[in-house]
């Protein structure tokens, strides 16, 4: 019986249907990778070579485009700015949302229900409806136009979803733990930071991934907030380059590759966690 099943399944595996499936997947993968492949390929060619042999492999590797792009987008500074914004935003969201989500989930009563509803309702508000006033408020609070300011704004925009995720996750942690700790004379803050917070690690990873991806790739908010080139993020610098040197594809492609490279490396290293984090966030959010 088992042998029959094996024979059946291995025959099925080699059947025409399976080759069709593989063919479709390979074509779709080719379509997905094509722009990235073309960008990398042509960023390594000289201008003349790119114009005449756009599809061919480069005859010799030219890295001049990269040093050109590196200076034009002020790579180190833009990279640093992007990291700082993401770091401030993600850290703040994890810290504040885990505290709020945990306590609201643990405290029965109207007040905590009210807070929860208040946070969750905002997931309905689209960014476009608040951006105009957000610019004005940020100006008045002097958080407009700087990396740390942008990080703080991201905390305000991102805590609600994170609270929702933490709130749901805390239910899976037994209350006995809290009670035992309190019995032993543990204070509220120590209970949270020493005992509860480490147990939240799986959902903290999800929150960190979702928010880091969002902040790293967000374009409209930095575009509206950043006016001083000292504070440009990678995306804003690249956008400026694209606007200024519309036809200088060598530098543009090199800057695109420079900007993509860190994310793709991180993705390939952590893809298991990232994909499960995305699925988790999408289904619960």
């Amino acid at each position: 019986m088992i042998a029959m099943q094996n024979a059946y399944s291995s025959r099925k595996k080699r059947g025409p249907g399976n080759i069709m499936v593989l063919l479709i997947l390979v074509i779709a993968a080719g379509f997905t990778l094509f722009p990235i492949y073309m960008a990398v390929l042509n960023s390594l060619k000289t201008d003349g070579e790119m114009l005449n042999h756009i599809l061919a492999l480069p005859t010799s590797l030219t890295f001049a485009n990269y040093s050109d792009a590196y200076h034009k987008i002020d790579f180190l500074r833009s990279f640093w700015n992007t990291i700082m914004i993401t770091l401030i935003g993600v850290t703040g969201i994890i810290l504040f949302a885990s505290m709020a989500g945990y306590k609201m989930s643990r405290t029965p009563g109207k007040l905590s229900q009210f807070f929860f509803a208040f946070f969750v309702l905002s997931s309905l508000i689209p960014f476009h409806s608040i951006m105009i006033t957000l610019v004005k408020i940020s100006k008045e609070l002097h958080v407009q136009g700087s990396t740390y300011g942008l990080g703080l704004i991201y905390i305000g925009l991102g805590v609600a979803l994170a609270i929702f995720l933490y709130h749901g996750f805390v239910k899976s942690i037994p209350r006995d733990l809290d009670e035992a700790a309190v019995m032993d004379g543990c204070g509220e803050l120590r209970l949270f930071f020493v005992i509860i917070f480490p147990l939240l690690l799986p959902i903290t990873a999800t929150v960190a991934i979702l928010n880091a991806l969002w902040m790293w790739n967000d374009f409209l908010l930095p575009l509206l907030m950043l006016t001083d080139s000292d504070y440009y993020t990678l995306l804003i610098s690249t956008n400026m380059l694209f606007g200024e040197y519309n036809n200088d594809w060598s530098a543009i492609l090199a800057s695109l590759v420079l900007t993509m490279l860190p994310i793709i490396v991180v993705y390939l290293l952590l893809q298991k966690y990232i994909l499960s984090g995305i699925a988790e966030g999408a289904i619960k959010g």
Partner: protein, 295 residues
């Protein structure tokens, strides 16, 4: 004694919620109310003074602003195409990827990769493909269809925006569908296969009903994100040529920040966008949740 215990609990709750509440109130709730307030004024963003003008911004936007109306129409067309294509392709890819044994991780990794990149980056790469690479391929293969003005010709730029959006967005939907497919018990489809169901019947009558909640989420997400599309259009066409690809979000940003500085008027348009998204997603959820119960 009892009351003071409850009070103490409330104070601790407040202490834990306060940091979140503060940031959230300043950067989300206050701007949301501010948006509604300014939508009723003629504020231009610079002048400290402004007048209340009632609903005249709304009346102008919906009654006397051909570009805004056009942008709503263009966005609707985009939303419909995206909701259908994005979900159909994502579900198809999810099923095909899940049917592979050894290569599933590889394909999953590839299909999600564009999602790690901003659509601004993806958009600039696609501008290169559309303007520089496709003409060369068309010349070499004789496929003249490829040699179009994908960005400069209004009838083609719609498709270029759809292609970029699918390229960047399908992987996300696929991950949701894969998670749902993994939740379908193997025994169900095995039982159906023994009863003589072929793989298409198996998918329609066993798998699809089981993953129906994921379809609801998938359509909800594509609906709400497609209505707000900005990056893809900004990177490819910037709304042009001649405002032919102007989606609602681009129209609002231009109204407020780029040309006109009519903050009050732009706020009214943003509120209209909010109401459209809210109404349509609520109707979608209501219809699909009802079917979920039946299925």
């Amino acid at each position: 004694m009892n009351l003071s215990r409850k009070n103490k609990q409330s104070i601790i709750l407040l202490a834990f919620v306060l940091p979140s509440l503060l940031f959230y109130a300043v950067f989300t709730i206050a701007p949301a109310f501010g948006g509604v307030w300014y939508s009723l004024t003629n504020w231009n963003g610079l002048n400290p003074t402004y007048q209340m003008v009632g609903f005249s911004n709304y009346i102008e936007a919906l009654g006397n602003d051909p570009y805004f109306i056009k942008s709503i129409g263009f966005t609707l067309k985009y939303v419909i195409v995206m909701v259908v294509l994005q979900n159909v392709i994502a579900l198809l890819l999810a099923v095909l990827v899940e049917s592979r044994r050894r290569s599933k991780v590889l394909f999953r990794t590839i299909f999600f990769m564009p999602n790690m990149l901003s659509l601004i980056i993806g958009g600039f790469m696609w501008v290169f493909i559309f303007t520089k690479v496709l003409p060369v391929i068309a010349e070499k293969t004789g496929w003249l269809l490829l040699d179009q003005s994908w960005i400069g010709d209004p009838s083609f730029s719609f498709y270029s925006i759809v292609i970029l959006s699918l390229w960047g967005g399908v992987g996300y939907q696929m991950v949701i569908y894969i998670a749902a497919l993994q939740g379908v018990p193997k025994s169900l489809s095995e039982a159906a296969a023994i009863d003589g169901a072929n793989s298409v019947q198996n998918f329609r009558h066993v798998t699809l009903p089981m993953i129906y909640p994921a379809v609801t989420i998938g359509i909800f997400l594509t609906l709400s994100t497609s209505f707000k599309v900005f990056d893809a259009v900004f990177a490819l066409t910037g709304g042009g040529p001649g405002r032919s690809t102007q989606v609602i979000a681009i129209n609002i940003v231009e109204e407020a920040f780029r040309f006109n500085q009519r903050y009050g008027y732009a706020s009214a348009k943003a509120i209209i966008l909010f109401i459209i998204v809210l109404l349509i997603t609520m109707v979608q959820l209501w219809i699909m949740k009802r079917r979920e119960v039946e299925a």
